[in-house]
């Protein structure tokens, strides 16, 4: 899932990460239309394949987040969506035929923080606090090409401090085993120290020093997206796709989903003990109350 205010480069980054264009015919709203916009949830699913390994990638986009003049509770549609996916999985898991469960749960949420401020804004804090127990949040500093290196360092520190201060649980990289080689450990350390990643995205390929690289062309220079000295894009890509993808999925399964499941069952059992004599009527499905089948299953359990 990608979340953040409009204009922070979310779609460009997705494009750079997966090297496919998911947003060909996108219509952007004008400012007056956005004054009272509500948040939508858009899913794009692509099947990509590399060297025989297939990946079904779903990008969940949240246009309209933080755009309106009054943004109270604008993260509610997003939390509802995440809960809905959990509920779907829960139901599937408790069903009779479990061969082809489609895992639509959100494994990772890339949250884009604006680089134009001094740190986290109230809407950022609100969003992360609403979602940190449900999904792995990876905060990113968007459009990092407006910050010089010293400013990036300061901003990262600031954001880390504020994350601690507000008690937000972002995704923590797992500790690497002590028998891994030094290189790997070094890499891992660097990774941890550079969170949150300062990223730059680009849809265009430009010519730099005789090579064609993905980057942004400015009158004063060329920003290369894949240059580690310019931004943390490579680190993000490695982390997300090459090294930590499985860990993200595991944490979603083992921690967030289990939390949800436990919470759900607890609610159910407490409700059942309250009205144990009455047959609870079959509700018509507004989430997150599961239906009668699931209730029976829970009771049996």
């Amino acid at each position: 899932m990608v979340a953040g205010e409009s204009g922070l480069g979310k779609s460009t980054l997705v494009h750079s990460l997966f090297l496919t264009d998911l947003y060909k015919d996108r219509k952007l709203l004008s400012a007056e239309e956005r004054i009272s916009q509500t948040v939508e949830i858009l899913k794009h699913t692509v099947d990509i394949e590399e060297k025989g390994v297939k990946l079904k990638l779903t990008i969940v986009d949240t246009p309209g987040f933080g755009d309106a003049v009054n943004n109270t509770e604008c993260w509610k549609p997003i939390t509802d969506y995440v809960d809905q996916q959990f509920e779907q999985y829960f139901r599937d898991e408790s069903g009779l035929n479990r061969k082809n469960i489609q895992d639509n749960r959100v494994h990772c949420c890339l949250y884009f923080i604006s680089p134009f401020g001094h740190g986290l804004r109230p809407v950022d804090v609100g969003f992360m606090k609403a979602l940190h127990e449900k999904v792995n949040i990876v905060p990113l500093i968007a459009k990092a090409d407006c910050l010089v290196p010293s400013e990036i360092r300061k901003l990262k520190e600031r954001i880390r401090e504020e994350i601690d201060k507000f008690g937000i649980h972002v995704y923590q990289f797992p500790e690497c085993d002590s028998d891994e080689d030094e290189d790997f450990k070094q890499q891992d350390r660097e990774l941890k120290e550079s969170a949150p990643f300062a990223v730059i995205g680009s849809n265009t390929v430009v010519e730099a020093k005789g090579q064609r690289v993905r980057g942004r062309l400015y009158p004063w220079g060329i920003v290369e997206v894949e240059n580690q000295a310019h931004c943390d894009f490579v680190k993000l890509r490695n982390m997300l796709i090459r090294t930590h993808m499985h860990d993200l999925k595991d944490v979603t399964c083992d921690v967030h989903y289990e939390n949800y499941r436990a919470h759900c069952i607890q609610q159910m059992t407490s409700k059942l003990t309250q009205d144990s004599r009455m047959e609870s009527p079959i509700p018509i499905l507004p989430l997150p109350t599961p239906d009668a089948e699931t209730e029976k299953l829970i009771r049996m359990k």
């Binding site: 004008s30 400012a31 956005r34 004054i35 134009f116 109230p122 609100g126 400015y218 220079g221």
Partner: protein, 427 residues
């Protein structure tokens, strides 16, 4: 007759004739006198900076005026928008400038965004000036003019379009202050994106009827350059107070790993254009526009609200004095009328209550009478019954007496009878 003569004089004012001078008189030094007077008086200029926290307002001010205005970094977690004015005295050559920079702290940070404090602040400054103007003993000469001469609106460089808050705020401010929109942190947008972004922004402003400040093109001296600049709005600026060595000079710039963005390089950003337009060319025009257009509009609205008019049906201009007197009389008569009304109402209410009370009294009386009658009735009936009863008792007594008499007679008779009977029986 004298009156008609006067009339003729005032209506038939002859056109002033232009004459040529025979020699040098010397009133061509009037502009110089004006200049020296203004210089001694000093100038004042008030800038309002509106934009998100951290967008680079303070840095740009520092860069524009080539000095450091001490301001601490603002936090993102302000509860509401605060306006923080700070006044500085600057001097260049022998010209003194009293610069006031008003910062809108906390703008755009709240979850439920609000732009009203800014509008209220601007109105308050106009109000202060109006009050000063309307005073009996006023000193406009000495008055520290705090009206905002220009509002620099900082647009976030998203690359797509204006934010909804930007649109709403600018619409509210365009009739109160000269707005110059600026694209802040422009080193984040590439040239092609910038071009598209500028077009999009101007398009949105026009289609929503937002009137931003247009550099004046009626004064010949500056018409050309202003016209060119008007086409470059909104200016994309980069601010920096750090100096970096480029070539063999120290210039103000931002050093990135991939290059150096020079603030004063026209190719890199529009900072130089902004400085030209804002300070070197149009500062005086900005002040004048504020006074003659925005302030007059405010004044007119405010006075109309209070009920003043410029002229009545006979197109005789009212003087403020007369209008004031008329207003006062009106107000007093209104007051009297209201008093009368209230008194009337009071009296009416008292009457009503009295009537009610009387009504109640009457009812009670009636009831009392009624009950009394009923009581009498009952009493009578009871009396009758008693009489009847008495009669009956009397009758009964008489009968009883009669019966007793008869009985005693009968007894007598029977006492003889049984003897006869016995005799009969014996016989």
């Amino acid at each position: 007759m004298a009156a008609t003569d006067l009339e003729r004089f005032s209506n038939a004012e002859p056109e002033p004739r232009s004459l040529s001078l025979g020699g040098h008189v010397g009133f061509d030094s009037l502009p110089d006198q004006l200049v020296s007077k203004s210089v001694t008086q000093g100038f004042s200029f008030n800038i309002l900076c509106v934009g998100e926290t951290g967008i680079g307002k303070s840095t740009l001010m520092n860069t524009l005026f080539n000095t450091t205005f001490e301001t601490e970094e603002a936090s993102h977690h302000e509860a509401c928008v605060r306006l923080r004015p700070q006044t500085y005295d600057l001097q260049e050559s022998n010209v003194q400038l009293k610069l006031t920079i008003v910062d809108a702290v906390g703008f755009g940070d709240q979850i439920n965004k609000d732009e009203r404090p800014i509008v209220d602040y601007i109105d308050a400054q106009f109000e202060n000036y109006l009050q000063e103007e309307l005073k009996i003993r006023r000193s406009l000469f000495d008055y520290h003019d705090t009206r905002i001469h220009v509002c620099l609106y900082f647009i976030t460089p998203t690359g797509h379009s204006l934010k909804s808050l930007d649109l709403v705020t600018m619409k509210k401010l365009d009739s109160k202050v000269n707005i110059i929109p600026i694209i802040a942190k422009a080193d984040t947008i590439s040239k092609s994106e910038l071009h598209k972004f500028k077009i999009k922004i101007m398009g949105e402003l026009v289609s929503n009827g937002v009137q931003i400040y247009q550099f004046p093109t009626d004064d010949e001296a500056v018409a050309e350059i202003n016209a060119v600049m008007n086409a470059h709005l909104p200016f994309a600026v980069v601010g920096s107070t750090e100096e970096v060595k480029v070539g063999n000079k120290l210039v103000r710039a931002r050093q990135y790993p991939w290059g150096v963005v020079q603030v004063e390089n026209e190719n890199h950003c529009d900072f130089v254009k902004l400085r030209e337009m804002l300070i070197r060319v149009n500062m005086e025009d900005l002040r004048e526009q504020t006074h003659s257009r925005h302030y007059e509009l405010y004044r007119r609205c405010k006075l109309e609200e209070m009920g003043f008019q410029d002229s009545d049906g006979d197109s005789q201009p009212f003087s403020l004095q007369e209008t004031y007197e008329a207003k006062r009389k009106e107000f007093l008569s209104e007051l009297q009328r209201k008093e009368e009304e209230m008194r009337q109402m009071f009296v009416n209410k008292v009457k009503e209550t009295e009537l009610e009370l009387k009504e109640k009294e009457r009812e009670l009386h009636e009831k009392f009478e009624h009950l009394k009658r009923v009581h009498q009735e009952e009493k009578r009936k009871v009396e009758e019954k008693r009489r009847e009863l008495e009669e009956e008792t009397n009758a009964f007594n008489r009968r009883k007496a009669a019966v007793e008499a008869l009985q005693s007679q009968a007894l007598h008779a029977t006492s003889q009878q049984p003897l006869r009977k016995d005799k009969d029986k014996k016989n």
